[in-house]
């Protein structure tokens, strides 16, 4: 049997779910993300904006960066802000990497919620999704989840989110996916 170790992965995704009733049309995010590049809103290299609004339950509008992407993701019909860490922080611990990812997702969320062009957009404090899109190091199995669970618990405790119930979700072919909710 192949051993996995999700802690080794530099790749992490965090999804914060949006309130669908208060979600502006997808095209509203295009100028917002272009503005983030122009005005250097984040302390990371942002490169371009990709529009996939035509794809059913797709990544919507994606702000492409070097270390990470940000998208208004519609997977499973549930819109939200998806933070996609692609590389970096290799020297940090898995927990530090996860904490950093959650913080960056939260910072992007705050920018969106404060943007007048997206008036009314809101994200849930009661749920988030953590994913490790790296099949070399992580599979979507109970064993791999059990190995990753303490890391997730510690990272969530360090965040301002009060999320303490963890559950592995999704098809085993998908990346390791952990749903965190408040108990």
């Amino acid at each position: 049997m192949t051993s996995t170790s999700p802690q080794r992965s530099e790749k992490i995704q965090i999804k914060l779910f949006a309130d669908p009733s208060a979600l502006p049309p997808l095209e509203s995010f295009i100028p917002v993300f272009h503005g983030w590049i122009r005005d250097k809103k984040l302390d990371e290299l942002l490169i371009d904006v990709a529009d996939y609004a035509h794809v059913h339950e797709g990544p919507g509008v994606v702000l492409i960066g070097h270390e990470a992407d940000y998208s208004i993701d519609h997977a499973d019909g549930r819109p939200g802000l998806l933070y996609v860490r692609k590389r970096g922080l290799a020297e940090s611990s898995a927990e530090q990497r996860l904490i950093d990812a959650i913080q960056r997702a939260q910072r992007a969320r705050a920018l969106l919620e404060d943007d007048p062009a997206l008036s009314g957009i809101r994200f849930s404090n009661d749920e988030l999704l953590i994913r490790v899109p790296d099949r070399l190091h992580a599979t979507n199995t109970d064993e791999c989840f059990a190995e990753y669970q303490p890391t997730v618990e510690h990272a969530l405790q360090s965040s301002s989110l009060n999320l303490n119930a963890l559950q592995r979700v999704g098809d085993p072919r998908e990346p390791l996916t952990v749903r965190a909710t408040s108990r």
Partner: protein
């Protein structure tokens, strides 16, 4: 625990034994080249062509500059000084093109492709107009592992780009079509296998595209605009029905569209590979190498004339050394066959308007009764990894490994039982993939354009998305003849959407208006998609991008109102003439002033003020790096490997690899002289002796033939793998000297060519065929 199962195992270790050995080796070499480039030990052009031949393209902004709407700004990539080609920053995201020969895809392959899109790109898989898959925003250092994972399911990215034979395409209905002469898929497969890595296709000045069609009348193969096209035919010879092909050459789109010319009215099937090889060799020898703009084979044929080209091909064919693969690759014509997983069944009557609308445009009966081809319409050719995995599940349930990517950026599922069609449709609907209108006006094709392409001038995907949205809403009110029109949009003159053969084609251009740039599209009308893309459209006028939807409406309305009964759009356009259409479009041709409406000064889906400052130098053409340079580089890598083996105490492996490096370098020089040579070392050394040593071409001005002696003497030594350290060291020293001499020899021959002296060709010409 085996290495593959360790927690810190790499993909290379994990997939060990699951990749074809030759693919695994090639990927290791590519990974080594990436490392050498990181250490700045490889030349930019050479590395660029190397990665391009592995399908790893550059993307927009990879020169490290991007206009953010207020001016061009540097993108501060971490390793900004490191490059992966001329003016191409190492860390800049790139595109990975993945060849899917004739579009044939298995469920397992689709799953792996989906995994890769999810892990390395922006979670979108894109189907191209040449039956490839493209993933965007890829980092170059991720490519070797991607290639390994693809190799583990039988996919190679080799020669997906670069100046070589690109993906071999064929109609998606091959084998299940009622109008075909016979199934062309096994021939497309054989051609793919034959040319992959073949020495005769490594030294082109430009790319070379091959397409197959099962019949002359339908458009699916589009052979007319390919460098080499083959249309299936049968002939009765001596009372027997023989298979063959009408072979055409020199077609192409791009800025100068040219229809292919007939090379052979009937080429017997068993002659297909040698004839194609002869064409490739003539192109490699005589095609333009310095000016990319005139390096496609169409220009060579224009220069020579088709009759002279035919004569040269005949001559080349007569001199070809027989190759057992010509027949071996065609010995099993069932190699591409598919077995249905469900019994045949009748299509049931349905009361569902949604199903009926979909079935009308997206279901096509096969030649096998009770089976259908279902076309899954992908908006702009895009789908998500999640959809990809679900489609793989559908394939397993309903069709088996019988998916084909189409040149209209969709996926065809073959062998759907009629009885299963409603259930299949319901499952597609749950995935958001049950849109009707395949191959109709709503199924707009587009190249990447300014979204990701370095050459894009206008947003072809933005326009295509807008037209899709607009036309989907009004499609029920459209005249049936209008509904069947095809629209294709290209971001620049390279014509990747194939707009020349659309009824309504659009080509991105830029215009200056009041001192500002405005994105426009040239309207190209009257192209013919049927009969293998029989004729090309003509440019009518340029229209501001934001007015194109209105232009489509106006043309569609005029056609619907004024067409004669059963008059095709091409006939209609020819009848009423260009000037009449230009008059119709005149009110849309001028944008409002900037002060009146700023939106005209931005492109679709992009709020930045429009600029063409982000245009880069395209990599479609590849870098022209002579094959000999690849060979010499490969030899150096072999020598590095030999040194590593010696350092690790394996003298036998070191000596063998050292000799192998000499053979590789010798082969590169032999091939430079346009001498046919096999891969085996004995033949290489024999040809080297005849054409380089005995002719003194290899001789150093001072040392004469000294550096060749060790190779000539030692090549016959079959016991080198038992060499001791002393012999190994000597072999490596000799190999180093040989490689230096090979470089010097190449430079002398190049100088001789450049100075216009006698071409340093083999005095003996082509050797006798054995």
């Amino acid at each position: 625990m085996s290495a593959a199962n360790r927690k810190d195992a790499s993909w290379k270790e994990r997939l060990d034994g699951r990749m074809p050995e030759h693919l695994a080796r090639e990927i290791d070499v590519f990974e080594g080249q990436i490392e050498l480039k990181k250490q700045k030990k490889l030349d930019d052009k050479l590395f660029a062509e190397t990665r391009l031949r592995r399908g790893a393209y550059g993307q927009r902004y990879d020169n490290g500059l991007r206009d953010d709407g207020t001016g061009q700004k540097p993108l501060a990539f971490p390793r900004g000084e490191l490059t992966k080609g001329p003016d191409t920053v190492w860390d800049a995201p790139g595109m990975q093109r993945i060849k899917i020969p004739f579009g044939k895809l298995s469920a397992e392959q689709l799953e792996v492709l989906s995994d890769l899109a999810e892990e390395y790109s922006d979670a979108i898989l894109h189907v191209t107009t040449r039956q490839d898959i493209q993933l965007h925003f890829i980092h170059i250092e991720d490519t070797p592992d991607m290639h390994r994972r693809l190799a583990s399911v039988g996919i190679t990215t080799r020669e997906a780009c670069g100046n070589s034979v690109r993906n071999v395409t064929a109609c998606q209905f091959a084998g299940v079509c009622s109008t075909e002469s016979f199934d062309v898929a096994p021939y497309a497969h054989a051609t793919t296998e034959y040319f992959l890595g073949h020495p005769d296709v490594q030294d082109f000045g430009r790319k070379f595209k091959i397409a197959f069609s099962g019949c002359a009348d339908e458009p699916c193969g589009l052979v007319t605009f390919h460098d080499l096209g083959a249309v299936a035919l049968t002939q009765e010879i001596d009372g027997k029905i023989e298979r063959g092909f009408r072979v055409v050459v020199g077609g192409g789109l791009g800025a100068v569209p040219v229809e292919a010319k007939v090379l052979r009215e009937f080429c017997p099937a068993e002659e297909l590979l040698p004839l194609s090889q002869a064409v490739a060799r003539v192109f490699a020898r005589l095609g333009e190498k310095n000016s990319r703009a005139r390096a496609r084979i169409k220009f060579l044929i224009q220069k020579l004339g088709i009759d002279e080209f035919k004569r040269l091909v005949d001559e080349e064919r007569a001199n070809l050394r027989p190759d057992e693969r010509w027949n071996a690759l065609l010995s099993d014509l069932s190699v591409t066959d598919e077995d249905p997983v469900r019994p045949a069944g009748d299509l049931p009557e349905s009361s569902s308007p949604a199903f009926n609308a979909w079935a009308k445009t997206n279901l096509r009966p096969q030649s096998q009764a009770g089976y259908y081809v279902a076309t899954v319409t992908l908006p702009l050719g895009d789908f998500t990894p999640k959809q990809g995995r679900a489609l793989a599940d559908l394939a397993r349930t309903y069709t088996g490994d019988a998916m084909r990517l189409t040149v209209e950026q969709n996926i065809a599922f073959r062998w759907i039982s009629g009885a299963d069609a409603p259930a299949f449709f319901d499952k597609l609907a749950a995935l958001g993939l049950a849109e009707p209108g395949a191959s109709t006006i709503t199924d707009v094709t587009a190249c990447p354009g300014t979204d990701t392409c370095k050459l894009g001038i206008a947003s072809s995907r933005g326009l295509a998305g807008e037209l899709r949205k607009h036309l989907t809403v009004v499609q029920d009110q459209l005249d049936p003849a209008v509904r069947n029109l095809r629209i294709k949009a290209s971001g620049c003159f390279n014509s990747c959407s194939q707009h020349h053969v659309a009824d309504l084609g659009f080509l991105g251009v830029s215009r200056n208006v009041g001192g500002r740039k405005v994105p426009h599209f040239n309207v190209v009308l009257g192209g013919q998609w049927s009969e293998n893309a029989k004729s090309y459209g003509t440019v009518v006028t340029a229209i501001p991008s934001k007015n194109v939807p209105k232009v489509v409406d106006a043309i569609a309305q005029k056609y619907a109102q004024e067409k004669h009964e059963d008059e095709s759009f091409q006939q209609f356009f020819q009848r009423i003439g260009k000037s009449e259409i230009r008059k119709l479009l005149q009110p849309f041709s001028k944008p409002p002033s900037y002060e009146e409406d700023k939106s005209f000064y931005s492109d679709w889906g992009d709020p930045r003020e429009y600029t063409i400052g982000d245009l880069g130098i395209g990599e479609c053409a590849g870098e022209i790096v002579p094959f000999v340079e690849f060979g010499l580089q490969a030899a150096e890598q072999e020598l590095h490997g030999a040194q590593d083996a010696l350092d690790s105490g394996d003298s036998g492996a070191a000596a063998k690899a050292g000799l192998g490096a000499m053979v590789t370098a010798a082969k590169a020089l032999v091939r430079y002289l346009d001498v046919q040579v096999r891969d085996d070392a004995d033949d290489v050394v024999a040809q080297f002796r005849t054409h380089l040593h005995d002719t003194k071409l290899f001789h150093d001005p001072f040392a004469k033939g000294k550096f060749a002696q060790y190779l000539l003497i030692t090549a016959a030594n079959k016991t080198l793998d038992q060499a001791d350290t002393e012999i190994a060291r000597r072999t490596l020293d000799e190999a180093q000297l040989f490689l230096e001499a090979a470089h010097a020899c190449y430079q002398r021959m190049e100088q001789q060519r450049a100075s216009g002296g006698d071409s340093p060709s083999s005095p003996a010409g082509q050797p006798e065929t054995p």
